[in-house]
Symmetry: C2
Subunit: 370 residues, 2 copies
């Protein structure tokens, strides 16, 4: 297995930026098998029938491997939400006007969005960054202003982003993850906001997996049948015009992705390089994770699938990554909302592993042979 998949010869113009990304990727290592074995041995000694905590047992073992600790706990959680606009929104692919991207960022900053409420419930910080919202956002102490551009170009006319923009957005994401890690971050959820970004996400999935566009394109925030047909047509046109190289995930990202999706790829690479588990949210965040794992397969071991979204393409993405979602609540909001809900389950999983009494400690009889 190659450490990274990139068609180096196509990226000559951006060699310096590629090098910066690869330096981070160098630090991504396989998870710690010994910590996982210790965690599994402990799970099997706890006062419950073996396996009776279902997915939470396996989850706790995976988290031990990622964190390299046999009994991990999470004290500093954050959800990183990246926002940006999409040129393709002008083609009428969303049920909401483009202005909603900026309006929702302000809602995040005011603490009134779903992700804010859920983060308060989970005891997680909310980190908001503007990777390329079309309008000027007011200066705010909680907003990281990291604009790569004023919205992407429309993928129907050519590449959504230049190679340089793509790599700079990835590097911004890496930097945000590293800054948070400096503050002690030990568990991160990822989310996004960007009117039109299910169109970009579906285009990426179609390009990478080869699935038919109609099989990976959903209703987003709620378009009707006609809007859906328009969305499918835009994606098909974008794939024809751009001819993204499926073997070069960053090429796909540049041509039909978006700033916030590229930024999330960076957050994932950065977090994985620091052994910080990443909880994916729904369709778009999972597509960022797909790009990251196609680019660097080792990343997969640091990912937790929070939930199964209503978006039709999400299942394809999770199956491709062989990740089983924890929740199936028919969510389709984004913002990192589902990932933050799942934080409770990760906290529960590691608390059980850490705090439960063993059969020996509690004087409970073990299973008889029956």
């Amino acid at each position: 297995m190659k450490k990274v998949n990139i068609a180096t010869s196509s990226w000559m113009q951006a060699e310096g930026l590629v090098k910066q990304v690869l330096e981070v990727v160098e630090h991504i290592v396989p998870v710690d098998i010994q910590a996982m074995q210790e965690a599994r041995t402990r799970q099997d000694s706890l006062t419950k029938p073996q396996g009776s905590l279902g997915q939470l047992e396996e989850l706790s073992v995976r988290l031990a491997g990622m964190t390299r600790k046999a009994r991990p706990r999470f004290a500093q959680k954050a959800v990183i939400v990246l926002a940006a606009d999409h040129g393709v929104a002008a083609e009428g692919v969303s049920a909401y006007p483009q202005a909603v991207t900026a309006q929702m960022v302000q809602n995040f900053l005011a603490g009134g969005a779903a992700v804010n409420v859920l983060a308060r419930q989970a005891g997680a910080r909310v980190v908001i960054a503007d990777l390329g919202v079309c309008s000027e956002l007011p200066v705010h102490p909680q907003l990281l202003s990291r604009k790569i551009g004023n919205g992407t170009h429309s993928m129907t006319q050519g590449a959504a982003m230049s190679q340089q923009e793509t790599l700079r957005a990835i590097l911004v994401g890496i930097e945000i993850a590293k800054d948070e890690a400096q503050r002690g971050l030990d568990l991160v959820a990822i989310g996004e906001m960007g009117i039109g970004n299910t169109t970009a996400a579906s285009a990426i999935v179609a390009a990478i997996t080869g699935c038919a566009v109609t099989d990976v394109t959903g209703r987003g925030t709620g378009i009707d049948e006609e809007g859906w047909r328009r969305k499918v047509a835009c994606i098909e046109q974008a794939l024809t015009i751009n001819a993204p190289n499926a073997a070069d995930p960053l090429d796909v990202l540049a041509k039909v992705g978006g700033y916030e999706i590229a930024g999330l790829v960076g957050v994932i690479l950065g977090a994985a390089s620091l052994q910080i588990p990443v909880i994916m949210d729904g369709f778009i965040a999972s597509v960022a994770a797909l790009v990251a794992t196609e680019f660097c397969p080792l990343v997969r071991s640091y990912l937790v699938a929070a939930h199964s979204s209503v978006e039709i393409g999400h299942r394809v993405v999770l199956e491709r990554m062989e990740l089983m979602p924890l929740l199936n609540l028919h969510l389709r909001l984004g913002e990192g909302s589902g990932a933050v809900i799942a934080m409770h389950l990760l906290d529960d999983a590691v608390a059980l592993l850490d705090e439960m009494a063993t059969f020996g400690e509690a004087g409970v009889s073990e299973q008889t042979s029956v």
Copy 2:
């Protein structure tokens, strides 16, 4: 729809106890439609695409109906765990020796069991009651000693419980719910511990639904194929010998149930009479809920299905009650563990309803017609 289903003429010998139960049931009323409408109107005004929070939206509306508050919150949560032994355990239907019931109660009291860890995570009190554990348990300030008997009779030889025992166990459950409500309880999870109690639960389901015993009998804590066949044979014998009356749910409960299951029926009736939402745990707790709803159909509106258990009969029970589980984590532990995990989701659901900004408040544009 009759308020209660009971074959009164069969219960003449226990008329006084029946009357006490019926007095409580008198206070169970339909949920508050107006609070539900207000909650739904508010949900639709919050800054998200309508319906994008999936099951959490409908859950918040249901909780508004149960609590009669348009914006409910939960400040005093508890999990009530009832323990008792089963005569049928002597037939080798469990992977664990009967002594484990008492040992696990002591583990609960020491705070080392899964339910204790999860309750700490959820901010819930753990209430433990002995409804009929075979051995003497030490006096402990956190243990409610409410023994109805020293384990039930084996259902393979006749009725597991007398009518009086059944009703007294129900009344104990009602009393526990009322005592907790006096302390401010506003959300309750129910759990159980009792070696052999999946046998009782499967027998109840087969009797009430008419399903084949093999279709509703699982592996419990982990018996092998031979143990499973023994378990099925025991249940079939019990149903033949006792001929429980499917139209009289309390008759089924008495003949093939158990003290802790009857106690949970009481907790559910008591909580519903006080408009306190009840989170069911896995198979056994859900079977108690099934008995309660078959006895008093209004109870159903006060129930939340936490998760879908690995136990094969659980799906049958949830479908019969038309309740959709929130989680599917392949749990099969009991103790109320899955119900306590689901508390996070109920807290999230009502926090979203209560705290999110509306489109008007946040100045976010609503959906355009597309």
